[in-house]
């Protein structure tokens, strides 16, 4: 696989299945305990690698780590004000919609968030693969990290309302 952000998902799936078949513990059922242990570790690593590469945020974070860049998601709190305002607005809208048990409104918010995330991911293709502007890319990963969190929260709220 090329170490870049733009990803051919079919190619990733293909590599993953091939690798998974090679290291699957079932193939080592008759092997020595040491080899069985080794195959378990390989299989776990292959799963981890697949998960990391499949999701855009973790893929970008991993690529930045390869270039020695920390995305500082634990301690960099200085996000652009307009982005934080939007986060506040989203939180307010989601809270209201949830209180009103309005699943359609939650779905609409989710769609907005998905579009924002997709726009940022498009930007990352240019910034990571072409410009190699690592610090700028780290800022986008921090934004995506926010959007991932709120999307997961909205999805959780929707399924809670649907279950009731």
């Amino acid at each position: 696989m090329p170490a870049q952000f733009a990803l051919d998902m079919a190619l990733l799936d293909q590599h993953y299945r091939k690798l998974q078949a090679e290291v699957h513990p079932d193939r080592f059922a008759a092997a020595s305990p040491g080899e069985r242990m080794q195959s378990m570790q390989w299989a776990t690593q292959a799963n981890e690698a697949y998960r990391t590469l499949k999701h855009p945020t973790t893929r970008a974070r991993y690529l930045l780590a390869l270039h020695g860049v920390d995305t500082e998601e634990e301690n960099n709190t200085a996000m652009p004000a307009d982005f934080l305002m939007l986060q506040m607005e989203w939180r307010e809208t989601v809270e209201e919609a949830y209180d009103e048990r309005n699943i359609a409104a939650l779905d609409a918010s989710l769609k907005q968030m998905r579009e924002q995330a997709q726009a940022l991911e498009q930007k990352l293709v240019a910034i990571l693969d072409q410009q190699q502007a690592w610090q700028e890319a780290a800022g986008i990963v921090r934004k995506l990290s926010f959007i991932d969190k709120i999307r997961a929260d909205v999805e959780h709220k929707i399924s809670k309302l649907e279950d009731e």
């Binding site: 301690n75 982005f83 934080l84 986060q87 990290s145």
Partner: protein
């Protein structure tokens, strides 16, 4: 996770929730966010002519510790000067609220919010001074 009594108290009865007019020249607004947990915090301070913070409001979306941290700092900073509040450390907040290690970043967020609000106010008043000098 078990919250300390102080966190619960601030979480259930948050002090100074709300907004101040961000266009008021005596109001400084600090907006910060923690990517790792998705928390967003807005802290606003209003200073009088002596440079003392006479009012503070906050709005926080996040976990109980983040809400408690911002609620606590609004209490702490009222009646203090800008220089005094710049001395507040996240460790003071974490200690007061007995935050566990995984929640320390909530107190970091609150400290950063104070700094951002003070910086915003100073930037506003700095430009105002320049206008006065120019006039």
């Amino acid at each position: 996770m078990a919250y300390s009594d102080k966190v619960l108290d601030h979480y259930e009865n948050p002090r100074n929730v709300g907004s101040l007019d961000k266009n008021d020249p005596s109001v400084g607004t600090g907006m910060v966010g923690a990517p790792a947990c998705g928390d967003v915090m807005k802290l606003q301070i209003k200073v009088n002519e002596q440079g003392i913070i006479e009012d503070a409001k906050f709005k926080t979306y996040g976990c109980g510790s983040a809400i408690a941290s911002s609620s606590l700092v609004t209490e702490w900073i009222k009646g203090k000067s800008l220089d005094q509040v710049m001395e507040i450390k996240n460790s003071d907040i974490a200690e007061e609220l007995a935050l566990p290690p995984v929640k320390i970043h909530c107190s970091v967020l609150a400290e950063d919010a104070i700094r951002a609000a003070v910086a915003d106010l100073k930037a506003k008043q700095g430009t105002k001074d320049e206008h006065e000098q120019a006039a």
